[in-house]
Amino acid sequence: MTVTSTDLPTRRNASATLAMLLADSRLPAGAHVSSNGLEAGLRHGLAAHEVADYMRTRMTTVVRVEAGAAVIARHLADVRPSADGAADTEQGSGDPDRDSFRPERNGIAPERDTVVPDRLGVLETEWAARTPSAALREIAVALGAGLARIGQRIWPQTAAVLRPTPLPRPIVLGTIAACAGIGAADLVRLVAYDDAQTVAAAVLKLEPTDPIRVTGWVLDACAAMEDSVSELSRLTRPEALPASGAPLIEDWAEVQSVLPRRLFRA
């Protein structure tokens, strides 16, 4: 089937609904293979009772890079014709929550096919420079490919960007956010929640403990992130992507990628 501008889906969903969908582990995106490095961490000295700290530490380090990349990708992928006919990146009102629901009306800006991939390529380079672990980059691209499968089908507007090259997960998320209408602030919270919940689900497999207590850890970690939501959701330029990686997390990601008899791929 050829998708044309006239048969784009008229379905509209609220930013919050879309964020819930994308953060739901039941989404068939192949994400259950990751523990966010927890498995390697537990084998290399992280105690089970320190997992809450691990979730929080991720919020101040790698999650800033992931969430920042998603927000910037959302900004770069949001290309629509402006009033005078020239395509430009919409700047929005500056209030990430108020900008949260702006799905395209009809028509893909032709620039999406050419300009957007180039811009996202620049962002990917900046993201890669802040993600020194090859294992982390590799799993991000694998998870991005799973999400891109869903993106292309559910939001055909994303296909021109998502189909040609595999992109890391945060950039795929940002592209979907731009096309489907997820606000920047919700996007940051989505990345944060997903990160913590991935660790939570993995710890229940690896070092089972009271699952309700672990659920509390997820909320604690997300609460710790809340102060940064506003700052991260305003990012627009690839160069401004936070460089807040954590050497130990990167080390565990590398260890995980060659861990014998592992339960999780990452």
């Binding site: 068939p28 192949g30 293979v33 490919a145 799973g146 497999k205 592992r262 339960l263 999780f264």
Partner: protein
């Protein structure tokens, strides 16, 4: 990825069954029997390692790069049924890298009797039991045993050692499957390997002709409830809902 009509891409054939029943060996057997005639690729699903992929590569039956391993993140059941993303990606990549392939075999991680493939991932599936697992397993049923496209009763050469009556096991299985095909197989029994080969080539021909329709064995076997009027057979299409299933008077 190019999207072809199903009949123009490879036949995707799942191989499921409990741990140790000989899924990897069956795949090696298929490769040995057919690799000279048709173009084959293999995807393995392992829980902890890429053991199965390595075993198959070292068997030398196929170019090692045509054998790819998927890691199932502690959820072998999920990866072939509810969230087939990783497997579909691997299948499509393999089909793309070695276009055109005739057959892609997808081996499930060894799971229990309830694990079956989603028709979103495979066109057909083989369920593998072995005589060493016990002669009564075929009678116990389950979606794979009852409704996979082919049930293999493997390692028939061991039957005497484990005290299993192969004929009885095959007859139980045939009854559980309401006459659908059951193959008693041993890699040392050439006639049985020839029958496997014949079944597979017929399926491939049907797939190419666009005549093959993938069937879902279902998450649970239909079963019989006796009551005063004779009883009824029913299936659970959605285990979460009460009485949403079909009842058929018999």
């Amino acid at each position: 990825m190019p999207e072809f009509p199903a009949s123009e891409r490879s036949l995707r054939l799942g191989v499921a069954g409990p741990v140790g029943t000989g899924k990897s060996s069956l795949i090696a057997l298929i490769c040995r029997a057919l690799a000279d005639e048709i173009r084959i690729g293999v995807i393995t699903n392992d829980i902890y390692t890429d053991e199965d992929a390595r075993l198959l590569r070292s068997a030398g039956v196929l170019d090692p790069d045509r054998i790819r391993a998927i890691e199932t993140g502690a959820c072998p059941h999920t990866a072939i049924r509810d969230d087939v993303t990783a497997n579909l990606q691997a299948v499509e990549r393999l089909e793309n890298d070695y276009y055109p392939l005739d057959l892609v075999l997808v081996e499930s991680g060894g799971d229990n009797l309830t694990a079956t493939f989603s028709p979103a991932l495979v066109d057909a599936q083989i369920f593998v039991l072995d005589v060493a697992g016990g002669g009564d397993v075929a009678r116990k049923g389950g979606p794979g045993i009852a409704r996979a496209d082919l049930l293999v009763v493997n390692k028939t050469d061991l039957a005497d050692y484990v005290g299993v009556d192969v004929e009885q096991m095959v007859s139980d299985a045939t009854e559980a499957r309401e006459g659908e095909p059951v193959l008693a197989l041993s890699r040392t029994d050439e006639a049985s390997v020839a029958r496997l080969r014949e079944w597979l080539l017929a399926l491939l021909a049907s797939h190419r002709a666009g005549a093959h329709e993938p069937q879902d064995p279902g998450p649970m076997a239909p079963h019989f409830h006796a009551d005063e009027e004779g009883g009824y057979v029913h299936t659970h299409d959605d285990e979460g809902e009460e009485h949403s299933h079909q009842h058929v008077r018999v």
